[in-house]
């Protein structure tokens, strides 16, 4: 057998090794085998190094994550805290705007339901200077058609009446003021009596005889007799009844939230209102106007 030249030996070796591996491939394909023995040897040789590498890398990574990577954490924390504060403020502003939008929507709804009644919406821009006086200041005045003794309401109920007007502002005496009053009736029994403030959050119904049947929870509405407020506007709900001499002592919680007024409606007329959705559940207002009746309770 002829000897292979030395410079060709490596070529022969190359061809042999490649041929062997091609056969190895062919065997694997033919027998659907994966050469498990060789793989086991290799994995056995490599896995200890992998374990060591994984341990070293894990230690390095933990050290990095728990120490070095935390260098900027305080700054991030401060930034996030500042951002959180700003977002809280923004949220509060948006919540305020959403609440304002709800209130204005209610006013608009009420205003639309009373389209034929002239009224003007006003924003509350101030309160009373002294604790003994229950008044508010509106951002509308004579230039907007507001005059003294005009009624002020919200969709929830009676607020008070205008006691002073200026070109661009007006002062309103709230229903809870000691000097305030409105002629009212009980919505169910139609018992009539003036209602007035005592300088506290609750108002009183003054002249209901002890013999009259009045119950806690009864609704009180305007009678329209005072020529300031149209008939059947909500005034409040009876919360307490005590026998008195000669009249009952009746406390009423105002329907309008007089402690948190922000927008109100000023009635620019004394004509009676038609009761719409905003006074749902109440007796419908009679068509006849009672404005001709003498004012029984003049606050």
């Amino acid at each position: 057998m002829a000897a292979i030249p030395s410079r060709h030996k490596s070529l022969v070796l190359l061809a042999g090794v490649i041929l062997l591996q091609v056969l190895l491939l062919a065997v694997q394909i033919k027998r659907d085998s994966q050469g498990r023995l060789i793989r086991t040897w290799t994995v056995g040789a490599v896995s200890p190094l992998e374990r060591v590498g994984s341990y070293v890398f894990g230690s390095f990574r933990n050290t990095w994550r728990n120490y070095f990577a935390l260098r900027g954490t305080k700054k991030d924390n401060d930034d996030l805290r500042r951002e959180n504060d700003a977002l809280k403020l923004r949220l509060a502003q948006l919540e305020g705007k959403a609440a304002e939008a709800d209130r204005l929507a209610a006013l608009l709804h009420f205003r639309q339901s009373q389209a034929d009644v002239p009224m003007v919406a006003a924003r509350v821009i101030g309160g009373s200077a002294g604790p003994a006086s229950q008044t508010i200041v509106l951002d509308r005045g004579e230039h907007d058609g507001i005059r003294k003794d005009m009624g002020v309401i919200t969709p929830d109920g009676v607020v008070g009446k205008v006691i002073e007007t200026y070109p661009n502002t007006a002062q309103v005496l709230l229903l809870t003021d000691k000097e305030s009053g409105v002629d009212a009736i009980l919505a169910d029994s139609r018992i009539q009596s003036p209602v007035g403030g005592v300088g506290e959050p609750l108002i009183t119904m003054k002249y209901v005889p002890n013999d009259d049947d009045v119950s806690v929870g009864a609704r009180v509405v305007t009678s329209g007799m005072d020529r300031i407020f149209p008939r059947d506007l909500p005034v409040g709900t009876i919360t307490q009844i005590k026998p008195g001499n000669p009249f009952k002592q009746i406390r009423i919680k105002p329907s309008a939230n007089l402690e948190r007024l922000e927008e109100v409606l000023v009635l620019l007329t004394l004509h009676p209102l038609k009761q719409g959705d905003s006074t749902e559940g109440q007796p419908p207002a009679p068509a006849a106007a009672n404005s001709a009746h003498p004012q029984e309770s003049n606050p």
């Binding site: 030996k9 490596s10 070529l11 070796l13 190359l14 090794v17 490649i18 591996q21 091609v22 190895l24 491939l25 062919a26 694997q28 394909i29 994966q34 050469g35 060789i38 793989r39 040897w41 290799t42 994995v43 040789a45 490599v46 190094l49 992998e50 590498g53 994984s54 890398f57």
Partner: protein, 176 residues
């Protein structure tokens, strides 16, 4: 071999390097370990083929085609073994050829310069992928693209890494 010796072809003078005991085996094992484990934590590392770079380096340094092709065979088969989705021999054949070519070229050219190492590694990387694609297409009947921009980018990256890696591996040489 305990020291470097000179290989003279014509008028050229090319040095053959020897390495510290166990350097080749440990380098090959480390390359396989890192190749199997690194991409788990760094996805981009899958572009690298460290076993190929080690095959090329020792092929170029040892300058013995028989040794180079056998080293390529072993490293390739081990890489196949650690890759459950490929049959044994796929990378084995490719690295056998690369080991042989690297040794043959190393015996004829001075491959110590970083530029030469960069160009040779990038070229070998593309050739390696071509052999893998050929094997897949012909022997395994699997579809495999011949060339892509991704492959080209990976070749350039491997060339760059090879320049740095070869500088480290140079330190494993026995002093001449």
């Amino acid at each position: 071999m305990n020291g470097a010796f000179d290989l003279r072809i014509g008028e050229s003078h090319i040095e053959v390097h020897n390495f510290r005991t166990g350097a080749i085996v440990l380098s090959a094992l480390f390359a396989l370990v890192i190749q199997a484990w690194f991409p788990l934590h760094f996805t981009r590392a899958a572009l690298l083929d460290l076993p190929l770079l080690v095959t090329i380096y020792f092929g170029l340094s040892r300058r013995n085609p028989s040794t180079g092709l056998l080293l390529g065979t072993v490293i390739g088969l081990m890489q196949d073994s650690l890759t459950p989705t490929v049959p044994l021999g796929l990378y084995g054949i490719a690295k056998t050829i690369i080991g042989y070519l690297a040794s043959s070229i190393g015996a004829r050219l001075d491959t110590e310069h970083p530029a030469a190492r960069y160009a040779l590694t990038a070229g070998f990387f593309i050739l390696h992928q071509a052999v893998v694609a050929l094997t897949r297409r012909i022997l395994l009947g699997q579809p495999e693209s011949w060339f892509s921009l991704h492959l080209f980018g990976a070749a350039l990256l491997n060339g760059l890494i090879a320049v740095l890696l070869f500088l480290l591996l140079d330190r494993l040489r026995r002093p001449s």
